[in-house]
């Protein structure tokens, strides 16, 4: 064996080792990508709701929609991002904890608005002092309404301090191509929260002048949004 032969053998061995190493790296990258893909899939998704033909025993797919929004909310995984497609107008009459971090409630047809009526009292807990509502679960929460007519009610007599969405540590509510309407003598506020920060913004959406004093529970009509330190608003002149 010459020195030159030794060096050639060592170089060859090193090259083989490098090839094996690179192969492992590719293999590890592929497996990590696969795991991330599975996580993304588990943490996001779409559910379909059809109040007329749906069934809460279905899987919520487009061909087998749920009947209620509440059932779709139950299926959302904590921290995930979900789209709820309304195929019909719906009446929301339950109280649900929103575990998802991002929730889009939208019409299944862009440009065709679906009415999202909040019932005057809970069907899942008759006599409750709470209105049918969405309750943030503690983390940040983004709720996006797209092509929705949100109908705020006059709560039943036994409901106190009615509101629809109870904020989380940070709650962002965005209405796009939507309308907010209020039933006669409606007393329901859109938002409530004992702590945390809120953001409300609207794009190509409308609301009645009677929303004054009902954006955020406890904030009087005519309040300049910039004077509420825990609230960010865009395109709302006064609260």
């Amino acid at each position: 064996m010459t020195d030159i032969q030794d060096i050639a053998d060592a170089t060859s061995a090193m090259n083989q080792l490098a090839e094996a190493y690179n192969g492992k790296i590719v293999s590890i990258d592929d497996r990590v990508d696969g795991i991330i893909g599975n996580l993304n899939s588990a943490l996001s998704g779409s559910f379909h709701i059809n109040a007329a033909t749906g069934n809460d025993a279905n899987d919520g797919s487009e061909n087998a929609p749920f009947q209620t929004v509440g059932e779709a909310l139950e299926r959302c995984v904590s921290g995930g991002n979900y789209e709820l497609h309304l195929h019909t107008d719906v009446v929301y009459d339950q109280l649900r904890i929103v575990r998802a971090a991002g929730l889009t409630i939208r019409s299944n047809i862009t440009g065709t608005k679906r009415r999202f009526t909040i019932a005057q009292e809970r069907a899942d807990a008759p006599g409750s002092t709470r209105l049918p509502s969405l309750q943030g679960s503690g983390g940040g929460l983004n709720v996006y309404f797209l092509d929705i007519i949100m109908d705020l009610p006059k709560a039943a007599a036994h409901v106190t301090g009615p509101y629809f969405l109870h904020g989380s540590t940070f709650t962002n509510v965005f209405f796009r191509d939507s309308e907010i309407t209020r039933q006669a003598d409606a007393d329901t506020s859109l938002l409530s929260g004992f702590f945390g920060v809120f953001a409300i913004s609207l794009r190509d959406s409308s609301y009645p002048a009677t929303m004054g004093g009902h954006w955020l529970l406890g904030i009087a009509a005519g309040t300049d949004p910039s004077t509420v330190p825990y609230l960010l608003t865009r395109n709302i002149a006064t609260l």
Binding site: L202, D204, S206, P208, A209, T210, R234, N235, I236, A237
Partner: protein, 170 residues
């Protein structure tokens, strides 16, 4: 960036809409033009305040010093002997004499006054021009943008010209 408006009409607010979208919603043209012009006036305010912020000293004490120096430079014969002594010390430190320093201060003060007054004039002119746009015009937004661009360009040129002198040490 697309300008969005929020207007109230007939008991309803239309929020975050373009002028065209407001039209589609049936908002009367005069209500839309009012909103567009109001936003234009706000844009003028933002423009001139941004310009003023660029000119202003961040130090209240420094601003007061500028004013004292300008006062002295404008009429050094009536300045207190003790104050002129301070001017002399600064001039000596900078290797020039009193007259040269006072001339420099006057030039800087003049540059500042000119650009400050120009911004005030631009503000008044732009707001008056926006107000004068006929409500029936279909291109109010475009006209406002043209006005703002012209005002911005004029202010920018003047600020750059004046800033070299204004931001000196005196």
């Amino acid at each position: 960036m697309t300008q969005l408006y929020t207007v109230e009409h007939a008991g309803h607010f239309c929020a975050g809409m373009t002028a065209a979208e407001l039209g589609v919603k049936g908002i009367p043209a005069n209500v839309i033009s009012l909103a567009v012009k109001s936003a234009g006036q706000d844009a003028v305010n933002v423009l001139v305040e941004t310009c003023r912020a660029r000119l202003a000293s961040t130090s209240a004490g420094k601003l007061a010093e500028y004013r004292f120096k300008e006062e002295i430079a404008r009429d050094p014969t009536n300045a207190a002997t003790e104050e002129l002594a301070m001017i002399d010390r600064e001039a000596a430190a900078r290797g020039i004499d009193r007259d040269a320093l006072l001339a420099e201060i006057r030039a800087k003060a003049s540059a500042f006054r000119q650009v400050a007054l120009l911004i005030g004039a631009l503000e008044a002119e732009a707001k008056a021009a926006i107000k004068a746009i006929p409500d029936a015009d279909a291109d109010i937004e475009a006209q406002i943008q043209t006005l703002l661009s012209a005002a911005r360009a004029q202010a920018e040129t003047s600020i750059i010209t004046a800033q070299t002198q204004i931001n000196g040490s005196s």
